[in-house]
Subunit: 298 residues, 4 copies
Amino acid sequence: MTRTDREGTTVEQSQRPGWLQHNAYGKSRVRLSKVTRLKDRHDLKEICINIQLEGEFDSAYTRGDNSQVVATDSMKNTVYALAADHPLTDIESFGKSLANHFLGTYKQVTECSVDLYEELWQRIAVNGKPHPYAFFGAGDEKHKAAVRATRQAVVVESAVEGLKLVKTTDSEFWGFIRDQYTTLPEVKDRIFGTSVSARWLYRKENPDFQACYEAVRKVILKVFATHRSLGVQHTMHEIGQAALADCNELSEIRITMPNEHRIPFNLQPFGLENRNEIFVTTDEPYGLISATIKRNAG
Amino acid sequence: MTRTDREGTTVEQSQRPGWLQHNAYGKSRVRLSKVTRLKDRHDLKEICINIQLEGEFDSAYTRGDNSQVVATDSMKNTVYALAADHPLTDIESFGKSLANHFLGTYKQVTECSVDLYEELWQRIAVNGKPHPYAFFGAGDEKHKAAVRATRQAVVVESAVEGLKLVKTTDSEFWGFIRDQYTTLPEVKDRIFGTSVSARWLYRKENPDFQACYEAVRKVILKVFATHRSLGVQHTMHEIGQAALADCNELSEIRITMPNEHRIPFNLQPFGLENRNEIFVTTDEPYGLISATIKRNAG
Amino acid sequence: MTRTDREGTTVEQSQRPGWLQHNAYGKSRVRLSKVTRLKDRHDLKEICINIQLEGEFDSAYTRGDNSQVVATDSMKNTVYALAADHPLTDIESFGKSLANHFLGTYKQVTECSVDLYEELWQRIAVNGKPHPYAFFGAGDEKHKAAVRATRQAVVVESAVEGLKLVKTTDSEFWGFIRDQYTTLPEVKDRIFGTSVSARWLYRKENPDFQACYEAVRKVILKVFATHRSLGVQHTMHEIGQAALADCNELSEIRITMPNEHRIPFNLQPFGLENRNEIFVTTDEPYGLISATIKRNAG
Amino acid sequence: MTRTDREGTTVEQSQRPGWLQHNAYGKSRVRLSKVTRLKDRHDLKEICINIQLEGEFDSAYTRGDNSQVVATDSMKNTVYALAADHPLTDIESFGKSLANHFLGTYKQVTECSVDLYEELWQRIAVNGKPHPYAFFGAGDEKHKAAVRATRQAVVVESAVEGLKLVKTTDSEFWGFIRDQYTTLPEVKDRIFGTSVSARWLYRKENPDFQACYEAVRKVILKVFATHRSLGVQHTMHEIGQAALADCNELSEIRITMPNEHRIPFNLQPFGLENRNEIFVTTDEPYGLISATIKRNAG
């Protein structure tokens, strides 16, 4: 096969119908396990990292000139190399280190985004004691972080994602609009199932990221369990306020909660009584509710 | 079990640490099949719809007062009811109808977002002729649309998502930065595998949505096949320019393409020659590249 | 459109090239949540059920005669109706009840298989105490059961599936065959990551299913943590023997464990020392190892 | 940390409660792309391979003695090395080559299973002509094969999996059992949606695998489209008989088809007429039906 000549595809940019308004590129799903071998135990950190760079990369798009391009393979190498010398006690500070590295090393980079999540491992208990180097997986729930850095500023967002919750009572939903499209009955005692995603920003530059994460997660569990819910919105707002109250380092928190419906199965056609005990578990459709609670000024 | 009294959980808002800066809610994954029974054939449209409303819903969050709340179950009902009277020739105009409905019916709604995607079904050919009512599924690729509407303006974005492509030559990658983190060799003949996501906006209010979708999809296939690629960025830019050239109704197009690496497997340890034929197919890590090409003014 | 006449598609069976050697049908993914409202707490059971019937259903296949067919929709109804009157303390006995029901009610059924799994929910701790009705999800791990019943016999198999484990030392792999296809180095200290699936059969008809499940799960965790592993095979065998030793009611256990490789990342090209700390987490390819350990006779 | 001595975990097998009844191990998800560079075009084959070996591997389990163990990493290497010299025109014959290799090379192997599937790529058409080296992905549907080989015999099974189909009429379901658990109405005109899995065996050792695959796939499409269905069972049987009739090399075919329900949405509460046009697309629960059609003797 012959190829078309390279010049054949290059066209004067001024003749093109459009211009390159925005671009970004990077490496996704760089997966890293780091073992820190201490005297009395091993620590394990398993992280998945996505990197995106923005900057003066136009010529790679418009002319196939890669002279300003950091290969995404090199980004991957950088993640492992930097992890070797980083304590990795929290994903947020590792994300900041990565962003600083790319901004500091390559002048054509004007913005660097690093998204990370951590697989949650817990120590196996053997005879009631946490084992020094054996762990079990804590499910799909993730601790996430997103770092957006320019040479002027760094914004860190942390998150709990996929925290699955259900309560079997203390949840109501009534008083909503009834019109021609309404068939849902009002209910004073329903099952409330959800999977919480909560993301928050910080008031200062170097908070104790890990402590904040643990505090927010604890607040979510407690408020979900103890709040008398008049709707997903109602509980979500209470969680957000409680998170700001308990975690002084947060400036705002954004919470998203699906309403994962358990629908009462009607037993009457089978000669049985409906006692609010038997439900159809459903995945779709689902309600999806979100709110941002921002700390009051002053 | 006794419950805590409702008043127990209600607190004066002025005493809370934060305020409700933003909220939104709606129904996700409302799945609809519509059969249009014509004289000589049936048409089938299978759509999945997500709706989100924004507006004056604060009291549901802060007080559990649902009097302004349209139940998400009612949103679901509305989708099916409106679909009964809508021709559903394209998902974009159905999304607009839904958004108009919610804005027009409920004065507390200030913004309505409708995200839709269409499962792609193709007619089975029997004896070389398209069958009037039997279809096979065209895979994971989706036709998507996103409608964002307020009382002042409507923005429609259309998309091709998950269009899987691979070419086995005419793809190079060299001339990129070589520094201490670079181990990737330069390559003049590599496999280029990707899965295109392209989203575009329109110059006018009522374009021929379905024709634009088909034209963009065709451009992507053609440019991917025939463009001599010096990088994912290079090909992506060419696709974007060609889409603006071929589809006059587009105002801008944003393209995202992963670089789904096929890595040459080194056969030398096994006494075999490397002839650029045998590759390891990988899912992760992957490069991720995006660009927005905007039509020139005038 | 006109249709072909029904008779048009019916053909004398003796003229067909083949015969119906086997058939089965049923309902899959019937999802049920049951709340048992006790004085001091609620219990929650969330189960997914698959049912398959075998028997004299040939005419439905060969002639479209459904007179012997129990609609799969009726099977779904039956699950919810029977669950209303069943204590649901363990999924195995509920599976047996369902199988007995179908065999007892429909004489054309000769065999009934019921596969079930349970989503694992744990009580949220509030102020150190388990909450009476609020739960969090324990991840992807499942408790499964498979009941195969005829009018003569019932076999119950129970399982732990998706128990994710990793240990950061005490795992070796060496002494394996080295030939022309071998490039893997021997290693005296590697990471051992896996996701255990263990299925077991019982020696008698009515064991304490829930106690056995908990005992097997505990054995897996303990042996994985404490066994010095010379290979996945080695650890798996030890788990199986220990399960038979600790759980007297088991007759055999089949264990399957992937080897979810963490591959040391070579830091030398970047001027760094390899200290067995930095690994690439991978999903594929993966080793897959299984064994059945059967209790000795006598 | 000190380790327990290796001898500490080795126990006399005669003292263990059980014995190793069965074992197997291998490598899963070895993913391979092969480009065959012909004069006028490139052919692309993208395959995922799972290998399992059975044989005399007991000592690896019982004693951690790996001297008979072929490392799964070496199996992976073998796949790529053998692919370099294999034409790869069909996955079945490559699976046979792999099985023969392991049985022929390692005397401790008594049985080798190779499961393969092929990603389906189609040539992009440019100006109406198939492009020589650019392809688009044909979705989730897979061509699969399973080879089970001992030194005495080889059995090859081929399969179509995930062929998604829907027809909007010519499907009925009535005349089934009505009893206390039945709420499903009889229906003379329903949507029939499914995803066909068909697996077949061969009458002779070296059939034209690729031709059989294409013939079976074609039969499925044709019969699904043209058969007047009185139930999933009815259509499935017809497909199986037609496959045996059209493909003389098949000895039997096993078909599995879910009934992916589209449920009529009741529009009457909204003052609209039900015209059998608007359906709720559902994933679960679903019917699951299977049958094996075996060729008549003689």
